[in-house]
Amino acid sequence: LNSRGVWLTYIILVFVLHFILLSIPTITTPVAWTLTTTIHNVCSFYLFHLIKGAPWETSDQGLARRFTFWEQIDNGVQWTGTRKFLQIVPIVLFFIASFYTKYDKTHFMINMVTMLLAVIPKFPIFFGVR
């Protein structure tokens, strides 16, 4: 995640997701943004906070098996650049979605709930909490 180009790719993937949703004729722009935010946050929660271990055989004698992806980033060091970046993206998406849905109450609640789902587990206080 620290490698060159990974953060840019992450942003590109989010916009590709939005583009795919937007290209479906029946989906309006507000719905597209809310769907983008929701899908991103749910995938982020699943990928970073549910899956444990690594998808390849590590040479650490199984040490990584007990940690989620998020806890393994930068070997557990908190507030690194990558962590801040991954923490900020759901929040920015929330603001964009709120703006495009003209702060409609229903959309706002949906976006808020999923944003909290993606942001709260990333707080240092939840490190290792199951």
Binding site: L22, S23, P25
Partner: protein, 39 residues
């Protein structure tokens, strides 16, 4: 070959390549259609 190499389809089986290319063409055509309708 460049398309297969840069999208990593080169490593996939033929039916996976077909699936991905169909999806890609589907998305692009709906995007163009939507843009057309929208504009």
């Amino acid at each position: 070959l460049q398309y297969l190499l840069n999208t990593a389809l080169y490593m996939l089986e033929p039916w996976e390549r077909l699936l991905f290319s169909t999806l890609l063409i589907g998305i692009l055509s709906t995007a163009i259609y939507s843009a057309f309708v929208f504009l």
